[in-house]
């Protein structure tokens, strides 16, 4: 999603080149995860998770690479993708989606943390740390963006 909308006013050709690198990293990380799950002696559940998740990430990387390479070769498709990428309504939808989903996630984590306090202390502490990290990232991002405008 982040790669689909223009958040930096970067030229689209540069965006596509960055995408290609990101998808390359996805592909090789996924592949590494699959290989590790096969050669490293870990428990079956984790091995299955690494295999499935790694395979998925690798497939996403490969599909992303093919799509973006095609974009660079086809001028018409490139222009269409550029308009879609720079479209201000798409950016508005993305920004609104991110804001609303962040609020929902934050509330859900908080509620889960409160409930976990009555059931399991480890889960409570984990959710507390997740919530803390989330808020820290949120505030840092807010101040960085505020300084920019």
């Amino acid at each position: 999603m982040l790669l689909k909308t223009n958040i930096s006013n970067m030229p689209f050709k540069k965006v596509v080149k960055i995408r290609l690198w990101v998808f390359r990293v996805f592909f090789f990380l996924g592949l590494a995860s699959v290989i590790l799950s096969k050669i490293y002696p870990i428990n079956d559940f984790i091995a299955g998770f690494y295999l499935g998740f790694g395979g998925g990430v690798s497939a996403v990387g490969l599909v992303g690479l093919i799509i973006n390479k095609r974009l660079l070769r086809n001028e018409e498709k490139f222009k269409k993708a550029e308009i879609e990428h720079n479209d201000e309504r798409n950016q508005y939808i993305f920004s609104k989606t991110f804001t609303i989903s962040s609020c929902i996630s934050l509330t859900a984590i908080y509620l889960a943390m409160v409930v976990a306090g009555f059931i399991n202390l480890t889960v409570f502490k984990t959710l507390f740390c997740v919530l803390g990290a989330y808020l820290l990232v949120l505030f840092i991002t807010y101040f960085v963006i505020r300084a920019k405008y």
């Binding site: 308009i83 879609e84 479209d87 201000e88 309504r89 798409n90 508005y92």
Partner: protein
């Protein structure tokens, strides 16, 4: 905020796709603008006004809330 985009576009016998391409947005954005579901940014409003050879005030009608 109301606008006369659909009216002006139809007068020029232009499709939504053609207008979208001319101002550098997707067809869905033009549909949303014409339906009044989305309000154009200032740069886009300028582009649309320039495309129709008129001013922003002639296309977008600002309605103050009571």
């Amino acid at each position: 905020m109301k606008n006369k985009i659909a009216e002006l576009r139809k007068a020029r016998k232009e499709t939504q796709e053609e207008l979208a391409l001319a101002v550098g947005v997707t067809r869905q954005t033009i549909v949303s603008l014409e339906n009044g579901k989305y309000i154009a940014s200032l740069p886009l409003a300028f582009k649309i006004a320039k495309h129709f050879g008129t001013t922003i005030e002639n296309i977008f009608i600002f309605e103050e809330e009571e």
